[in-house]
Symmetry: D2
Subunit: 105 residues, 4 copies
């Protein structure tokens, strides 16, 4: 992740427990895990539909919504994007990819 | 993104047009946009269900699948994770968050 | 389907082309296929979440939303619930079930 | 519902508790609520994608899968399609529709 994305993740987490009237993120945390998961699912549906359309900006916008709500869901569960990255890189096929990159690079 | 995740994204993109028998990613690209979008949607459903369970490792695993298929879908559309990050940071609320982080940091 | 459900399906279809200000269904038809499909997807997510909870009434309510939006989506595509029933009964396994029912009944 | 669809629903329910090797439905019940809900979600994604395509038969096929898995999910929860119909007809807007149908008919 970029430093900026890490900052964003930290700030999202800081909103846990704060007044739900103050921000959308606080409101999501206050609504609870099931509601956050529902929003993630909805954004995934919108990403699917955008991907089948021809508008590149729509896809970027919906994917950003999806990634954002994933960060909130993970934040609610005490998981970080770094945990997800580690899992991706740990997997056999992915390690193979990274290894190949190391050889090629 | 970390350097490793960038490498993974590059390697995913290199699989476009390669033999679908060689890797899961090549097979996905060969199957086409609708099939990749379908897989993204399925992984989102599994992430929702994992989030409602109590198993942290399940959530990490399903979120990794979701992020991976998002990278493939974006790769098929010529969009990068960096485009998504830029969109997140461009948004008003998010910029506000980043600005706050700069002040605090 | 019951006679009442058939009536509901007919009335949903009659809303196509009518003023979107008049009803939720007219508004959906006016918004178009992608929007109706998005709503169907969202209701499916809510049905999944309700099914994992312990509240029977929530599941009934979300499933009703899902079936309702399926009827609107089918109406927009010129497909009827009767077409769906026929497809279910046509399938090999299902035909087997029906046959067994006939023998048992 | 037609008599045939009612029979199908009854037969689906009879598969609860039977050997998972005997039928797909038994296997689903054996896999449990979360797995059935996951399948419902997946079929909804496929219905969304089919609706955005131009193939009427695909939409019928995916909608049939969706309705079928909804029946299994409801069966696992002790809810019937009749409960869903009753909920649809109970709702204010829907009652209005039915009332209008009664006046027109």
């Amino acid at each position: 992740m970029t430093e900026q994305l890490k900052q964003l993740e930290i700030l999202i987490r800081e909103r846990r427990g704060s007044d739900p009237a103050l921000s959308y993120v606080s409101k999501l945390f206050h609504a609870g895990r099931a509601k956050i998961a529902q929003k993630l699912g909805e954004e995934a549906i919108e990403t699917v539909i955008a991907a089948l359309g021809d508008n590149r900006q729509d896809l970027i916008s919906e994917s950003a919504d999806l990634l954002f709500h994933l960060m909130v869901l993970l934040g609610d569960s005490g998981v970080t994007l770094a945990d997800i990255e580690a899992e991706l890189l740990r997997r056999e096929g992915v390690s193979g990819l990274a290894e190949k990159a190391a050889r090629v690079g």
